[in-house]
Point group: C2
Chain length 418, copies 2
């Protein structure tokens, strides 16, 4: 007998019909003799509808009230799934994040889980019940106000519960069959991975893969929770995210996949004095605009230097505005930006021990006539910035260059996972 945590996304519970299907799957797992904890996102487009309603009522709603509003969505879906389970003859009970002991920071809209007190969930499991926990939410340790966890929060809730309860596995049910060597909508022979280490999955997430959010994978890694990413439409085995890269023997370490990211923009600060402290002023200014920086390149010249960096495209205007405001103070000549960029990344533990990877990477793109703008690397990742119109082709070129494709053509189900 195992303790299984299952997470179902918004499209899996988007209608009464789908809710009943999900309930059948959950009860099936329970009948196999396991303890089952389920985390559901809000139904379908509920969260977006609530956001829209809020926008009609107020231009800049207070974050605390936004969290009170949005958490209704998960409350509704989890209560409905509990009802559907009950209709199939099994016992089920739903809890809010707060009731389930999910304690968080006070950052409304992007709270981080501090800890999970699993007692109430544990007692319900001991009573033989299937437990539903509303995803995407918790309660602030300080103010005792309800908080939401940011994008992908339901996945994080599921992994955090799995960690606190010592679950044997955390199953993330989504629209895709698992983690692929590349986005199957771009690369027709992308392969589903059987397994991927935590570090490689972290890089995939950081480099644009939307299957699992970064925070969720970090949590899984910290608490050694095996995460099984699989399809909610079929019974096919998905991808298991587990284990440290360090445990992969050298001869088995491979190149895992190609990720892409369209969400960034590029900013170049021109004519900065080439002396200590000036780069720091630029980055401090961007930080003051509450914007995170990804790739950075500084090209040294004579006396003057340019700094180029990438950041979320949605934040580009705010960051550039604040830089312009402080131009005299910081001391640069001009600032330019380019939103027409995309990032493509090759990830794999095998990169550590294969010296020619960077060369093959750059040669393949050059042969395809794709210009590299910036390069950034880690032990197991190479990322480059290219023109956004070249992005899909860059993904295909790299996937081919490193032999990541398989014989089967990937099956793509409708919609995008969350």
């Amino acid at each position: 007998m195992a303790l299984v945590v299952q997470k179902f996304g918004g499209s899996s519970v988007a209608s009464a019909e789908r809710i009943r299907r999900v309930a059948e799957r959950i009860v099936e797992t329970k009948k196999q003799g396991h303890d089952v904890v389920v985390v559901c996102s809000a139904m379908g487009d509920t969260t977006d509808e609530l956001l829209d309603l809020a926008g009609q009522v107020a231009p800049a709603p207070p974050p605390r009230e936004m969290d009170m509003l949005l958490t209704s969505g998960e409350r509704i879906s989890n209560a409905l799934v509990a009802m559907a389970i009950h209709a199939l003859g099994a016992e089920a009970r739903s809890f809010t994040g707060s009731q389930a002991g999910v304690i968080t920071t006070g950052a409304h809209g992007n709270a981080k889980i501090i800890q999970v007190d699993p007692d109430r969930v544990r007692r319900a499991l001991d009573d033989g019940e299937i437990v539903l926990v509303a995803g995407f939410q918790g309660v602030s340790q300080d103010s005792r106000d309800v908080t939401t966890l940011g994008r992908g929060g339901s996945d994080t809730t599921a992994v955090a519960l799995a960690a606190a309860l010592g679950a044997d596995v955390c199953e993330i049910y989504t629209d895709v069959d698992g983690v692929f060597t590349a986005d199957p909508r771009i690369v027709s022979d992308a392969q589903k991975l059987d397994r991927i280490s935590y570090e490689e999955m972290l890089e995939m997430a950081a480099c644009g893969s939307k299957v699992l959010m970064l925070r969720c994978v970090e949590y899984a890694r910290r608490y050694h929770v095996p995460v099984h990413v699989r399809s909610s439409y079929t019974d096919t085995v998905g991808t298991t995210v587990f284990g440290s890269m360090a445990d992969i023997p050298t001869d088995q370490a491979v190149l895992t996949g190609v990720a892409h990211d369209r969400s960034e923009a590029k900013v170049t600060v021109i004519g900065l004095p080439d002396e200590p402290g000036y780069a720091a002023r630029v980055f401090r200014t961007v930080a003051d605009a509450e914007v995170g920086i990804d790739m950075v390149v500084q090209n040294t010249g004579t006396g003057r230097t340019d700094i180029t960096f990438t950041l979320p495209a949605a934040d580009r205007a705010r960051a550039v505005a604040l830089l312009r405001e402080r131009r005299a103070e910081i001391g640069f000549a001009d600032v330019r930006h380019d939103d027409r960029v995309g990032k493509v990344s090759l990830i794999g533990a095998g990169m550590r021990d294969q010296p020619g990877v960077t060369a093959t990477f750059c040669e393949a793109l050059a042969e395809a006539g794709i210009n590299l703008d910036l390069i950034a690397t880690s032990q197991i990742r190479i990322s480059v910035l290219v023109r956004d119109t070249d992005l899909d082709e860059a993904v295909r070129v790299l996937h081919r260059a490193f032999d990541l494709g398989g014989a089967e053509v990937a099956v793509v189900h409708g919609g995008t996972g969350r």
Copy 2:
């Protein structure tokens, strides 16, 4: 400076536009220098939509989960109103019933408020905030599960908060201008009452008036909370519900109004032995079916007797089924029922001291050719059961017979209040 509790029903917050209007009214009250606590029902038809969704997912949803589901509605509306208030430049904070300290029994779907711990609300008021509290809900004292309070629960929440906070008034904003001498949709010259005592309002509610629910008026009476029932569409002063009938001087005691009720059915148990204990068996059986009895009439014969009583029409089938099941055990000959009945009632503190009222009552109906089926009375009320098709005319006849009409024709706004 006063402490004002304001309650807004579902139609008052049915859209973004109406929510903004309600927010303006609330902020206006705050600007007059008062502390303001607001209780909102769920938006428009939200509760019915959630009930419908539940029905699609499961035929007999567990009451605990139904409460988890339904309470989302009030959470949404109160968070949106808080946002709208904030957009007008005032501070506002929303709480669930649980967060606001509304402690209840464990009867899911029909919980009773045991007490209200107002500390968190009080602290927010002291911080200068307008406080929103989700109506219709609380938390069970024993299980710590979320509960809903039954029909009219938002009114009860508002009155209970007013009592716990020692508020100066509890304003119930609704679709009608106040409490009328009769339903203005039936009686064109029905008058709005300026004032009505708690006992008279209790009788009005018990006899079919839907303006305020019985439990809410009982709570107001117990804690001496002045309740001001008024329109959310205009600034017109409504009806104040306050004071004990005992405090009304004899010369000022009047006949207050005519109420009507279409929601009951009549059941007659025929041929019961005319000996002690048999009537009790009938009533115990109906109680076992969890059905409440209203009017009762027993006509004695020789050795055998018939008992006629009324009960909610929605429960009639269940009660009759259980009676038939136990026919031999109880000892009656037959049981019949009639769903085509209506109850009309005359209410007024003045009845105590006006000996001819019952006579005038019966004569007026007789003159109109309306047959009386059952009669039941209290110190301040006369109720009769008539054919349902005679009900509206009976209301008009009595209203005229006791001179309750005024010169102005009553204005009827759209929709029904809750």
